[in-house]
Symmetry: C2
Subunit: 138 residues, 2 copies
DNA sequence: GGGGAATAGTTAGCACGGCTAAGCAGTTCG
DNA sequence: CGAACTGCTTAGCCGTGCTAACTATTCCCC
């Protein structure tokens, strides 16, 4: 078995991610917008601070992303009745629909590439996906 | 065996790449600047057009990135003696040093994570690296 | 050889999303 | 009560993606 070189893996990761990132269309949400919506869709209502921490972003950056999502009606922002400093961000039905639509569009490029692989290679990527997730969260 | 979902793989890739990107050296090179320098370091002098195509970016974006690298003395831009329309971009010794420094730092972060894996997991990532490279180049 | 088409690079201007600094409102606690 | 802390926002800088439009040069075909 080949030796795993950090540089090789890193370059592969960045290259394929750059390709993925390039696969956008006009109607599509940006990376950060999509990512925030996906978190809200999966985890339920959160505060801006919690979202910023999760995305490893500073609070002002999250404010801007949320303002943009709010303006498009994809999220709601309501004051927290229990703590006047906090805001509760909630995904709207329209936002949830956008998550689904955008995800589908985004996955299309990758799905086409995966379709060209043989089952064993797909299995490798499935396992790698889990391992990389663990690394990213560490 | 788990099913490979495009979304899972895509999110894993983007998450870990985001973490990697955060590991920049003190020289404060951005991802795109670093990427261009790395290409020049590996492939030798290139034209802006060639760099733009390689990075899958429009020429004006590359112009700006190159201007910034030029201003920092990390690349040189000289007219092509053979074709008056073209420019030849060349990495400087200082630019090559920046590549090495950043690469070392990013590899270090990843190397620490890989060290926590067992050999079988590392083998999976080694194979995935090759598969992803092929996908990125497709 | 001359003239239009194509190519290379740039400039201008917009959008977006990182960041820090600073400010305001609300909460906590000595 | 008042000072310190927390949560969010605003203001403003920067990098980098884009398109449109411009200049300069080269190519190619009549």
């Amino acid at each position: 078995m080949s030796v795993l070189e950090e540089t090789d893996l890193r370059v592969s990761l960045m290259k394929v991610t750059r390709r993925l990132r390039a696969e956008k269309s006009d109607t599509e949400l940006t990376d950060s917008q999509m990512s925030v919506l996906a978190v809200l869709d999966r985890s339920g209502p959160l505060t801006p601070r919690a979202l910023a921490d999760f995305e490893r972003v500073q609070p002002p950056s999250m404010t801007r992303t949320l303002a943009s999502l709010d303006a498009r009606g994809l999220v709601d922002r309501e004051p927290d009745p229990a703590d006047g400093r906090q805001i509760i961000v909630r995904i709207t039905p329209s936002g949830a629909a956008a998550v689904t639509a955008t995800r589908r569009q985004r996955d299309a490029w990758l799905a086409r590439r995966l379709a060209d692989l043989d089952p064993e290679e797909r299995a490798v990527l499935a396992r790698a996906s889990q391992i990389l997730r663990r690394i990213a969260d560490s």
